[in-house]
C-alpha cells in the first residue's frame, strides 16, 4: 500500500513536470507565431487591442467589417478611420476591445453596427464562447482579463495553468497565416470588401434571422454597458443598423436599441428600412452588402453624419 502510494506520487510528479514543460514550450512557440501575424482575422484583433489610434473607430461583426469603407468616411469627414469589425463577433467582444482601446487612445467618434436582432444570442455558444476564445490570447491585458473573468472565471484559471489554452481553437489560423496556407482577403483599414453576389432565389424567399428568439438580457446589458463606457469617457457614439434585405429583423429589438441609444444622448440610424438599398444587386448575400453596396451605404452614412 505504502509503496503503491510512493509510486503514484512519483509518477504523478514526473508526469506533471513533463506536461508543464511541454505546455510552456509549445505555448511560447504558438504565442510567438500568434503575434507575428501581419494579416488575417487574429491580426485585426491584435491591432484593435494594441494600436487602433484613429479618431473614428467602427465596431461590429461581419456586417461592420464588410460594409463600412474607411476611405470614404475619411474623405468626407476629414478624420482618420479604422474598421474594427470582425466576423462573428458580438457585444461582449466589442465592449472588451473598446475598454482596451480606451487605455491607450481617445477616439472622437465610435460607429457601432448592430444587427436588427442584436439581442438574439440563441445559446451561450453564440453569446460567450467564441468571444472568449478570440480574447484569451490577450489575457495579460488587465481590461481583457477583467472582462473575461466576469464572464467565465474558469477560463482565467485554465489559461493560468496551461499556456496553450489561450490559443484554443486558433491554431489552424495561426499556422495558416504564418506559413502562407491562408491568405487574408484584401483589407483596407479593416474593411474587407465582398465582390459580386451569391444571392439565390431561395435566399430571397427564405427568412433569415426570423427564427431567433427576441431578447437575451445579457446581450442587452452589454449593449448598454458599451454606450455607458463611451458616455463616461465623453466619446460620441453613433449606433447604426446597416442595410439588409427586407426579410429579417425584430421591431422590438430595434426600437429598444433606439430607446437606449437616445437615452444616452447618442444618434441611432436605422438603414434597414431605407428604400435606397432594396436593390438585390447591391448585396453579396442576405446579410451583407457587396463592395458597390458598401460604397454607396458608407457614402450615405457619411452624408447623414455631416448633415447632423
Amino acid at each position: 500500500m505504502k509503496s503503491n502510494l510512493i509510486k503514484a506520487v512519483k509518477s504523478l510528479a514526473i508526469f506533471i513536470l513533463i506536461l508543464f514543460i511541454a505546455d510552456r514550450a509549445i505555448g511560447y512557440f504558438i504565442e510567438k507565431l500568434y503575434f507575428k501575424q501581419k494579416t488575417g482575422d487574429l491580426y485585426q484583433t491584435t491591432y484593435a487591442i494594441k494600436q487602433a489610434k484613429q479618431k473614428i473607430l467602427i465596431f461590429g461583426a461581419s456586417r461592420a467589417m464588410h460594409q463600412y469603407v474607411p476611405d470614404i468616411l475619411e474623405q468626407k469627414l476629414h478624420k482618420s478611420v479604422y474598421n474594427l469589425g470582425r466576423d462573428g463577433r458580438n457585444m461582449i467582444y466589442h465592449y472588451t476591445v473598446f475598454s482596451q482601446v480606451l487605455t491607450y487612445s481617445h477616439p472622437d467618434l465610435i460607429i457601432i453596427d448592430v444587427l436588427p436582432n442584436e439581442y438574439s444570442w440563441k445559446t451561450r455558444k453564440e453569446g460567450e464562447d467564441g468571444m472568449i476564445s478570440a480574447l484569451l490570447p490577450y489575457i495579460d491585458y488587465p481590461e481583457v482579463k477583467a472582462d473575461i473573468g466576469q464572464i467565465r472565471r474558469s477560463d482565467i484559471i485554465l489559461s493560468g495553468i496551461f499556456k496553450t489554452y489561450a490559443y484554443n481553437s486558433n491554431l489552424a489560423q495561426i499556422f495558416g497565416y504564418n506559413f502562407g496556407v491562408l491568405t487574408a482577403s484584401k483589407n483596407k483599414k479593416g474593411y474587407e470588401p465582398l465582390y459580386g453576389t451569391k444571392l439565390t432565389v431561395a435566399d430571397l424567399l427564405a427568412p433569415g434571422l426570423i427564427n431567433m428568439p427576441e431578447m437575451n438580457e445579457e446581450a442587452r446589458n452589454y449593449f448598454k454597458a458599451f454606450l455607458n463606457k463611451a458616455k463616461e469617457n465623453n466619446i460620441k457614439v453613433c449606433v447604426v443598423v446597416s442595410p439588409v434585405l427586407p426579410v429579417i429583423g425584430s421591431k422590438n429589438c430595434i426600437s429598444d436599441m433606439r430607446r437606449i441609444t437616445e437615452g444616452y444622448g447618442f444618434k441611432f440610424y436605422d438603414f434597414s428600412k431605407t428604400g435606397a438599398f432594396a436593390d438585390n444587386s447591391l448585396y453579396y448575400d442576405q446579410f451583407h452588402l457587396n463592395d458597390k453596396g458598401a460604397t454607396d451605404f458608407t457614402g450615405d452614412l457619411a452624408d447623414t453624419l455631416l448633415a447632423k
Binding site: M1, N4, K7, A8, Y165, Y167, N168, S169, A172
Partner: protein, 444 residues
C-alpha cells in the same frame, strides 16, 4: 420546491419498492405469491417510467387520433379536444434506474441472483454516481458482488481508470463537441442546405453521437475503475461492424443486451409456435421498444423500427448472404459490409437526431433530391479540428481492431505512455470545445 423534492423522492421510491419486492420474492415460499410480488415490482417501475416520461406522449397521440376520428366521421371539427398533459419533473437517468431495477427483479425472480439484503449496497447499485445519468445499464450479478469486496489503493487500476477517462474526455471535447458546432449550424437551417451537405451532416452526426456517448462511457468506466469498480463496457468499435446484427452487439451493449435477455428472449420463447416468425416478431418488438426507450417521440420509434427492419432482412437473407460472401474476397466482404452498415446507421440516425418525423422526412427528401451545389464547410478551422480528432479516433480504433499489439496509451514503455498522455492533454487544451455542453444521452 415540490419539483425539486420529486427529483429525490421518485428515485428513492423506485429503489425502496424494488428493494422490498426483491426481498419478499426471495422470502416467499409460495410460487403464486412470488409471481404477484414480482409483477407488482415490475408494474411499479414501468408505471413510474410511463408516468414521468411517456404520459404526455400517449396523451397527445390519443387526443390527436380522437380528434381526427371526430372530424372524419362526425364532422365536428369545432369540438377539438385538448390533451391532458402532466407537468412533472423527470429525475436525471430515470430510464437507467428503472431498467436496472427491473433487471434486478427479473434476476431475483428467476433465481439467478439472490435478493440484496443490505439496503446501503442496494442503493449504491442503483445510484452509483458514475453511471447514474447515462449508464451503462449495470446488471445486479455483475455490480453487487463488487460492493461487498474490500477496496484498497491500487496504483495500476487507478492509472487504467485515468487513461480511460483521458480518452473519454478527448472523444467528448475534441470530437463530439467540435462536430456539434458544425452539425447544429447545418441542422438549425436544414431547409437552406443541399443534398451533399445534409448527407455529410448525417455521417458527422453518427460520429458525433458515438464520440459523445462512448466518451461519456469511457469517463464513467474510468471513474468507476479509479474507485475500484468495473462497469460493463458499452461500446466495442461499432463502426467496424460488417452487419447491423454485429453493430448492435457493439453499440450501447449494456442496453441492447438488457433488451435481448429480458424482452427478445421472453417474446421468442412465448411465441415459439410461430416458427421463424417468432424471432422476427420479437426482434421488431424489441427494437421498437429500444427506440422508444430513448424518449417519447415518434422519431425514436421509427429509429427502432428501422433497426428491426434491417435485422429482419439480415435474418431472412443470412443463407444467401453467406453464399455470396464465400464467393468474394475477405477484404471486399469487410469493406462492403462496413460501408453498408455504417451508411444504414447514419441514415436511421436522421430520425434519432431530428426533432420531428416531418423534419426527418424533409431532410431525407432533400438528400435524395440530389440538389446541386458544393458542400457547406462553415468555419474552416472547426472542420480542420474535427478532422484531426476524427482521424485520431479512427486510426486508434483501426489499430485496436486489427493490430491489438500496437499500443500507445497502454504501451509498456513509460516514455511512449507519457508522450501519449501529454499529447492527448495538449490536443484537448488546444482543440477541445470548452462550452460546458451536456452529454447527448443525459436527456434519455
Amino acid at each position: 420546491m415540490y419539483s425539486q423534492l420529486a427529483l429525490i423522492i421518485i428515485p428513492l421510491s423506485i429503489i425502496i419498492i424494488t428493494y422490498l419486492c426483491g426481498y419478499y420474492i426471495e422470502k416467499s415460499a409460495v410460487e403464486k405469491r412470488k409471481k404477484y410480488i414480482y409483477l407488482a415490482g415490475i408494474i411499479a417501475n414501468i408505471s413510474f417510467l410511463l408516468l414521468l416520461k411517456y404520459f404526455n406522449f400517449f396523451s397527445l397521440t390519443l387526443t390527436s387520433i380522437f380528434n381526427s376520428v371526430n372530424t372524419a366521421f362526425f364532422k365536428s371539427a369545432e369540438q377539438t379536444n385538448h390533451p391532458f398533459l402532466l407537468n412533472l419533473a423527470v429525475p436525471l437517468g430515470i430510464s437507467y434506474i428503472t431498467f436496472q431495477a427491473m433487471g434486478y427483479l427479473i434476476e431475483v425472480y428467476r433465481g439467478t441472483h439472490p435478493a440484496e439484503k443490505n439496503f446501503g449496497h442496494f442503493i449504491t447499485y442503483l445510484l452509483f454516481f458514475p453511471k447514474i445519468v447515462a449508464g451503462p445499464v449495470e446488471r445486479a450479478h455483475h455490480f453487487l458482488p463488487q460492493i461487498k469486496t474490500g477496496k484498497s489503493f491500487d496504483y495500476d487500476t487507478i492509472v487504467l481508470g485515468l487513461r480511460l477517462m483521458l480518452w473519454g474526455f478527448f472523444k467528448k471535447l475534441v470530437i463530439a463537441d467540435r462536430l456539434e458546432l458544425y452539425n447544429s449550424s447545418v441542422l438549425d437551417n436544414y431547409s437552406h442546405h443541399n443534398s451533399i451537405t445534409l448527407a455529410f451532416t448525417a455521417v458527422l452526426c453518427a460520429i458525433q453521437l458515438y464520440a459523445d456517448f462512448s466518451g461519456y462511457t469511457d469517463i464513467a468506466l474510468g471513474l468507476a475503475k479509479v474507485l475500484g469498480f468495473d462497469l460493463t463496457p458499452n461500446f466495442n468499435r461499432p463502426f467496424f461492424s460488417k452487419s447491423i446484427t454485429e453493430f448492435w452487439r457493439k453499440w450501447h451493449i449494456s442496453l441492447s443486451k438488457w433488451f435481448l435477455d429480458y424482452v427478445y428472449t421472453g417474446v421468442t420463447i412465448s411465441l415459439r409456435d410461430w416458427g421463424k416468425w417468432s424471432p422476427i416478431f420479437a426482434l421488431n418488438i424489441t427494437f421498437i421498444l429500444l427506440g422508444l426507450w430513448h424518449g417519447p417521440n415518434w422519431t425514436f420509434v421509427i429509429f427502432g423500427m428501422l433497426q428491426g427492419l434491417a435485422l429482419t432482412l439480415e435474418f431472412l437473407t443470412r443463407k444467401s448472404r453467406k453464399k455470396l460472401r464465400e464467393k468474394l474476397p475477405v477484404a471486399v466482404n469487410t469493406l462492403v459490409g462496413v460501408f453498408i452498415t455504417f451508411g444504414y446507421f447514419c441514415f436511421s440516425l436522421i430520425f434519432f437526431r431530428a426533432n420531428s418525423v416531418k423534419q426527418a422526412l424533409t431532410i431525407i427528401g432533400k438528400i435524395f433530391q440530389a440538389s446541386k451545389g458544393s458542400i457547406f464547410i462553415g468555419s474552416v478551422s472547426t472542420m480542420f479540428y474535427a478532422i484531426i480528432g476524427v482521424t485520431i479516433l479512427f486510426i486508434t480504433e483501426y489499430f485496436q481492431e486489427n493490430h491489438p499489439k500496437f499500443l500507445l496509451i497502454n504501451n509498456r514503455h513509460r516514455i511512449v505512455r507519457h508522450a501519449t498522455y501529454v499529447t492527448l492533454i495538449l490536443l484537448i487544451i488546444l482543440f477541445g470545445v470548452f462550452n460546458e455542453s451536456q452529454f447527448i444521452y443525459f436527456k434519455f
